[in-house]
């Protein structure tokens, strides 16, 4: 089992990003996803900066993947995507079918992110034929579906040629909109958002009128309110055939979380009993994995 660090889904100042990846180099993650996956206006780091960072991390021994935008609407966003696919020299994470098409035409391998809809092995096979070498399961799917997809993939004869990754820690990416909800919260038009996302390193909490945590506003992206935590599912994942567990960055304790996950993996899942108590934290959820509503805890 490998550990991956997902792309930073929030908008952090350049300095914070640099510090974050300084720490990531010496952490236990095997794979690092870099780049902007949410909003094209977020340019504290531009493509050349990401590429430079990618080269550094790669030199330090990490497998680097460049993530791309999840929702591509403007012509400028498409041009940027083409540029990244043309020049990066990195493995790319496609988060929209646009990237899949560009990379397939160039006969370049790619990873599909969780916003690419793969709900069965036939879809996965189609993407495998186009160059997909690793896929991240859509977040709303459960362990039984995943198990069956991989069994079917085996019957279709390509299961051993593709890696499976599961979003295993962090606020779940749930939806993408034309509307920027951060700008809306600030009473600003999207075209004059003043980059207010910079003020919220973990997004803006959205609660019900009974103060129950529901969602997290992150620009045009809506995330879960609770943090999805599948750390204790390591053994099941290993059994099903999951190759990579993904940890999605938060601004506070990402590296502690990585070490906890690493400990569980190193000890073959045994450690989960010892630290299972802290996973009952109110802010965690794991419903999707058990085929329940995502926000529930089983």
């Amino acid at each position: 089992m490998k550990l991956s660090l997902g792309p930073v889904l929030y908008y952090w100042p350049q300095r914070q990003v640099a510090d974050f990846y300084d720490q990531a180099v010496s952490s236990s993650v095997d794979i690092i996803y870099l780049g902007e996956a949410v909003c094209s206006k977020r340019q504290e780091l531009r493509t050349p900066d990401w590429l430079e960072l990618a080269a550094e991390l790669s030199e330090a021994g990490k497998a680097v993947v460049l993530s791309t935008l999840s929702l591509i609407e403007a012509r400028s966003e498409l041009s940027l995507l083409r540029k990244i696919c043309d020049n990066s020299g990195c493995l790319i994470e496609a988060n929209d079918m646009a990237a899949v098409n560009i990379l397939a035409e160039k006969k370049l391998p790619f990873v599909t992110g969780s916003s690419i809809n793969i709900y069965n092995a036939y879809s996965l096979k189609r993407l495998y034929s186009s160059g997909c070498q690793r896929w991240v399961m859509p977040v709303e799917l459960n362990r039984t579906t995943l198990k069956n997809i991989l069994i079917d993939a085996e019957k279709l004869g390509f299961a051993d040629k593709i890696e499976t990754e599961v979003f295993s820690y962090g606020r779940l990416p749930l939806a993408y909109s034309a509307r920027c909800f951060t700008a809306r919260a600030k009473n600003l038009p999207k075209d004059d958002c003043q980059l207010r996302c910079l003020e919220y390193p973990d997004g803006i909490p959205l609660d019900t009128q009974e103060n129950q945590s529901l969602f997290t506003i992150n620009g045009i992206q809506t995330q879960s309110g609770y943090i999805y935590n599948l750390r204790d599912e390591y053994s099941t994942m290993a059994e099903i055939g999951v190759d990579v567990m993904r940890i999605s960055p938060t601004s506070t304790d990402t590296f502690e979380v990585i070490e906890q996950f690493n400990q569980v993996i190193q000890e073959g899942g045994g450690a989960s009993q010892m630290i299972a108590s802290d996973i009952k934290n109110d802010e965690f959820c794991n419903g999707y994995w058990y085929g329940r509503p995502g926000m529930e805890t089983t």
């Binding site: 591509i72 929209d96 709900y119 036939y122 709303e140 997809i149 749930l174 993408y176 075209d191 609660d207």
Partner: protein, 331 residues
């Protein structure tokens, strides 16, 4: 532009045809389509009656098979494609890559349309579906501004259909998991968003409350119009303020954009609402037929009539309509 109208039942289909639909889209009676609600949709016999009625009136029939099958239910989607092919529907509206692949391989002569649930918002994504499955048309998600629709249309490899009227999804369709985060059902897996089975209303001393799977979606004061608790249209707290943090209860209405949409080369206008009554279908289709005919006749002198807007407002969510993402300030 072709007027593509919804039908969740045979009476609704007849209402659509009688009031001027160019095409009607339907779904089968299971979770293979994105309006999988109790009492709705067509079994084999009803689908055949639907086909007879549209054929007799020279109207097209599209079948939506636009949810995402999982391994345990794959055969149901396969059967739906077989059934639609057997019916000789004029087009199948599909989202899933595997289902597209199956339809393309098994029935190379079928017209395939990419469903809005396929979430293709740009020409590269459209090209993927065209190159791999030979789709003839795609329905654009309701996330593009008019200027962006124009850009896509200018170099789209396939014909484009856009939403003209009906419930407004504010998230990119096919990529919204809000419903399954809170309830057991989602559009992609079950063809349902904020399902009625999860809704609970209660009168409390704080007002009338609407809940989804026990999560408070909204609270209404006396006399306030209490709309259906769709997740993205509730009132929530953000930084101490309580408001419609994502969107107000409102419907999309683009009647006024008819000339621009036609100018930029949009081939079809879709009316949302297979879950709505035959009366809704009749009202909306009649207005849109009149509007499109009026535009055809007088071209650039086209103006929206007050009576049309009144009629549409009557059947709109919260009696409000918006241009949604087509209008940049909305975003």
């Amino acid at each position: 532009m072709e007027l593509v109208c919804p039908a969740g039942s045979l009476p609704a289909l007849k209402a659509a045809v009688d009031n001027g639909a160019d095409a009607v889209y339907i779904g089968f009676k299971d979770d293979t389509n994105a309006r999988h609600f109790a009492g709705l949709n067509f079994n084999d016999r009803k689908a055949k009656s639907a086909l007879e009625y549209v054929r007799a009136n020279n109207v097209k029939l599209f079948v939506a098979i636009n949810t995402y099958p999982q391994p345990h239910s794959w055969s149901r989607w396969q059967a739906a494609v077989d059934q639609a092919a057997d019916l000789q529907a004029d087009a199948l509206i599909i989202a899933d890559l595997g289902v597209l692949d199956y339809a393309r391989e098994r029935y190379p002569g079928l017209n395939l349309h990419l469903s809005v649930q396929g979430s293709a918002t740009n020409i590269e994504a459209l090209a993927f579906y065209k190159n791999n499955f030979g789709i003839k048309r795609a329905v654009l998600p309701r996330v593009l501004s008019l200027a962006q629709v124009k850009q896509v249309a200018a170099s789209s490899p396939v014909d484009l259909e856009v939403f003209g009227f009906g419930s407004l999804c504010i998230m990119a369709e096919g990529r919204c998991h809000l419903s399954s985060y809170v309830t057991p059902e989602s559009p992609n897996t079950c063809g349902a968003c904020s399902p009625a089975s999860a809704v609970r209303w209660s009168e409390t001393d704080k007002g009338r409350e609407s809940r989804l799977n026990n999560v408070l979606i909204d609270r209404f004061r006396e006399g306030e119009n209490a709309g259906y608790p769709t997740l993205c249209k509730g009132r929530f707290q953000v930084e101490g303020q309580t408001y419609h943090a994502l969107e107000e209860p409102t419907s999309l209405n683009t009647l006024q954009l008819i000339p621009q949409l036609d100018d930029i080369g949009i081939k079809a206008i879709k009316i949302e609402g297979r879950q709505r009554s035959p009366a809704y279908v009749e009202q909306v289709v009649r207005v849109w037929r009149e509007a499109l005919d009026s535009y055809k006749k007088i071209g650039s002198n086209f103006v929206t009539r007050g009576e049309w807007l009144d009629a549409l407002a009557n059947v709109s969510e919260g009696s409000q309509t918006t241009l949604g993402a087509y209008s940049r300030p909305w975003q």
